[in-house]
Amino acid sequence: MLLEIKDLWVHYGSAEAVRGVCLGVGEGEIVTLLGANGAGKTTTLRTISGLKKATSGEIWYKGERIDGLPAHERVKQGIAHVPEGRQLFYTLTVLQNLQMGGYLWKNRSESKKRLEELCEHFPNLKERLHHQASDMSGGEQQMVAVARALMARPKVLLMDEPSLGLSPIMVQEVARIVEQIHQSGVAVVLVEQNARMALKLAQRAYVLEVGAVTVSGEAAAISKDDTVTRAYLGY
């Protein structure tokens, strides 16, 4: 396993948000976390990327424990996080946002090369590089957020609700991009409200309920599981 989480507990004050979650992500795999609002999906992602400190439990990445590292060190290791609600730097331009994503490239030409590569994957970004990030539409902002995270050439990409609040066409576009990222060999941890799309994309899935994993397994099997389909796919 590339990324492995063992018995993770996270608290907000005295409230338990994550209760003993174990999960693993293989090299180049898409894994999805499903669950209702408040089930602890976002908190799990925030704990993996280091924005939130775990109360107890272990996070292993490439055979090393990383739960002691601060967030910016984990990015260096290759874990990128597209936070919920996009959260661009709205006072900066699109280009500056992407440059911040490539902050760890000390070498300017490296960063430029990566930027050009990404512009090919995200064709509509190219002509909008010098626009203010706040002037972009919701879908475009999501593209910028994903591209920004990819600037650092991560090995694992944590995506929190990338299709939230987007038009159906943009949701299709997001699915295409996730597929593309998968194709380039990056592992993806996908948190999604749109469970149908997530299960179609993912190889494996975990279902969280009130902070604990209740069901886990192959995505194809889970999409046939009665209780899950009734709860999250609305059959």
Binding site: G38, A39, K41, T42, T43, R46, V191
Partner: protein, 333 residues
Amino acid sequence: MKTGTDITKKLVFAVAVAVVLALPWMTGPYTTQLFILTMTYGMLGLSFAFTIRVGLPRFDSAAWWGVGAYTTAILMTKADMSFWLTLPIAGIVSMAVGFLIYRIAIPRGMMVFLMFGMVIALAIQQLFGSVEFFGGWGGTEVIEAPAIGGLVFDGKRELYYLGLGFLGFNLICYYALMRSRIGRSWNAIGQSVKLASSVGINVVRYRMANVLISNFFLALTGSFYMAFSLVAVPATFGLDKSLNVIMYVIIGGIAYSLLGPLVGALILAFVPEYMRVAAEYESIITAVVIILVVIFLPEGVLGWVSGRARPWLLRRRPWVRSVGSKNKEPESG
């Protein structure tokens, strides 16, 4: 059990009152003078702790203190008024001038209020110093000590009791205000401006009332200051004094709006006195102590003590929190 602690509590209180009343007879005139200063600074601290409860840190307390002192001095010398008559006038002048200035600052929020306060502190000092009417930078003097009938407040002991009277009046008023309905609205504002305005509290108006009341008491303290110093010099009422006032409150414990300023003033008045260091190093040491207190005892001396003392001795007043402290805990997903 309960009656037992009640008796102990009353006993402690009685002993404290007795000690405070007997102090001028137990110490020399120099120490009594220090206690008078402590009470003055303590009252300034009370006014600061009062506005901090609506989330407004004031950096101009010394300036309004000066307004009170100057009003009393000018009225006593130029209009030949009695000391007692100048008290309410000083308070009203301070409130009226304050109203004009804060009409601009308070609606603009905490940050503008704070910066405005610093500017006011400098501007009022400049006004006293550069206008001839106020006696210039040399200050203005009064000759007469306040008196009631045959009792003249000219000795240290008499002034000590006069100060106790002022301090008691301050404490009673502040306590009553905090317990009143308006006090509850102030607490709500202090906890969250957004929340308070969402339940229909007119934040600007309540803050204005709070600050003006604080202004009134600051001016009153200024008049008392004239009673024992008999001279008002602009340099006394500068920004550095306002900063000292804040130090008293922080050292005492910002959450203790009545006892905190008094304890802080007591510590900062007496500790340097007994440390016996050269005057040049005194302010450096005080500054270092303040940094250490903020880092290691962020709740002040009282906060530290109450964590250790029995709960009945010092009850924490939880309705005041430090301004701008952020409890930013993101929602769980």
